[in-house]
Point group: C2
DNA sequence: CTGAAAGCGCTTACAG
DNA sequence: CTGAAAGCGCTTACAG
């Protein structure tokens, strides 16, 4: 069916080895021969067999990304796809591809990474959503697969890092709230994600420390990112507003913030007049709520490109430097 | 580094061929030998090399999905990720993976598919967003790669189909609008997507035919899915409402519908009292707008699983049957 | 039931 | 500059 290198070599009247060198732009082939081989390849519509090349080069040209999220949340968060799109853009420059697989939980993800490593299925791994006591780290350390991660602290195990300064991000948002006309909130609430995520823990700590330093009351609510719990926070936020004078709430992501806005709609309280609501992630979703959501925006596509570059560097040349991500800026809309 | 089949064979005291048979559960190996081989493999932590297996079996265990969408829209639409998640779920049962690549346009996508085929990079291809005169179809027909698509009509070229009855979907939505208290709209508008998409053309035709048959005035606006054009429709819809008594608008997807809602917010017109707004796709986004959006929901994850099954069947056993997708049902919310 | 050999389609030293 | 050979790590007829 498809033609092979042997066909091309025969057509050009040279050996397979010479044909290979000519086609790969290696030196040690005369210009005339190279031309003849290239023409023959073109003629036959020859393309190198992916599997054969991967086997002989012992490199797959593929980076793996396992995602331990429910299909419910993976689709809902814009962050994820924008990030992946950025990675792919960068990877396409070096003719690499991304192998994505959705798994039920981190345990399954760790197992998958281990298998990928053992099967030499990928040249490197992208780690998302780093966790406290992350089971994937020892697997990566053992396997020694080149790995890159976007996280708020160095993960060790030789993992190339795109570092996110969550403290600065939190500070930026708190400063925005403080600067509002009639600012000087005496109490601010933070609706955090599940505490097993490293970035959540870091954000929470930053929130509490900064508030304490400024003499602002800090209330933290925890969300499991599920819709069912939204009604509960609505009530809790209302109670915090009425009983403790809470006048602003920071929400971990924009989807949660939008849902909170819906909960608050029926209540006897106006956003942003009585209560400001802001999100720590931005997306188009923020523009279609009522009021539109103020959010901390960042260039997620660029982050994806940065991480891809880090991983390529690590896979090709060994230990890469640490890159610090742009912390982003507040996009003011109607909710604050 | 990683152990190979030779290591396992030596450890178990058998030949490579026998070890291979034992590990792959083939017949012609004594139970005792099989046990010894399996134990040796376990011992050494052996896993088959992906590339070697792909080469000798001439099958990659990978299906390819090229996406010709801007990273802007790929993230915004929930449909896409929910669909992919469904596919992956199904594929993971047969130990297959999805190779996804984002490309700038259909031309690039066609070129990529051609390359994938020539490199024997994938065992099959998933085709999304079928178009009028789709440049990918001849490529697939030529290459003969097993392909499956979700679309509103048979695409030929031996492509396995998950058929969506766009006419029935449109009818369902129109019937919902007709059944509203004070129904009997004299004019309905439809904001359609780019006409090069097959499903858009089909929806539009259905919209016009059904309206004509029922004596309802039909106005069609065309959107390129870009945000910049949203303000324009806002004005056009208002004009249709005031000048021609248009009292309902159907929007191609929920993101567009949500943006229309925002445009309409400042106007002297109430949704749904003066104008009903509904979307032909549903997602969590519909629940956070004000008012929440009535939408035509369907089980997109199930669609993904169905398409994956079709593709597996086609790749393994040749020509598969046609499956008709569930047309979905109206999820009534506040906007209609 | 088991082993030796050939083959999948490339790449890469090694001679000439 | 060019060719013949070995190797990447599996699978699969073919003998025995």
């Amino acid at each position: 069916m498809s033609s092979t290198l042997s066909d091309v070599a025969r057509e050009a009247g040279v050996s397979k080895g010479t044909a290979s060198k000519a086609l790969n732009g290696r030196s040690g082939v005369s210009a005339a021969t190279r031309e003849r081989v290239v023409a023959a390849a073109e003629d036959l519509g020859w393309k190198p067999s992916y599997a054969a090349r991967a086997l002989s080069r012992s490199a797959t040209g593929v980076f793996g990304l396992a995602i331990a999220r429910s299909s419910e949340t993976v689709g809902a968060e814009n962050f994820f796809m924008a990030f992946v799109a950025g990675m792919e853009e960068e990877l396409s420059h070096s003719d690499r591809a991304l192998l994505m697989q959705i798994v039920p939980d981190v345990g399954a993800e760790a197992a998958l990474l281990e298998r990928w490593a053992a099967e030499r299925r990928v040249d490197g791994i992208v780690l998302m959503d780093a966790r406290v006591d992350d089971p994937r780290i020892p697997v990566i350390a053992d396997a020694g697969v080149p790995t890159a991660a976007m996280a708020c602290e160095d993960l060790g195990a030789g993992i190339a890092m795109l570092l996110v300064d969550e403290e600065e991000r939190m500070r930026t948002m708190l400063e925005h709230l403080a600067s509002r006309a009639g600012g000087g909130h005496e109490r601010i609430a933070y609706i955090a994600g599940p505490p097993e995520f490293l970035h959540v823990a870091r954000r929470r700590r930053a929130f509490e420390e900064i508030c304490a330093a400024r003499g602002i009351g800090a209330s933290v609510l925890t969300s499991d990112y599920r819709r069912a719990s939204v009604a509960r926070w609505g009530r809790e936020i209302l109670a915090l507003h009425e009983d403790e004078g809470c006048r602003a709430v920071i929400v971990d992501n924009e989807l949660l913030a939008a849902q909170l806005l819906v909960q608050l709609r029926g209540a006897d309280l106006a956003v942003p007049r009585d209560l400001a609501v802001t999100a720590l992630e931005d997306s188009i979703l923020c523009t279609v709520t009522d009021p539109p959501l103020t959010a901390l925006g960042r260039d997620v596509g660029e982050n994806g490109r940065q991480l891809a570059r880090l991983l390529v560097e690590l896979a090709e040349q060994g230990p890469a430097g640490v890159v610090v991500a742009d912390p982003g800026a507040v996009v003011e809309r109607g909710s604050s």
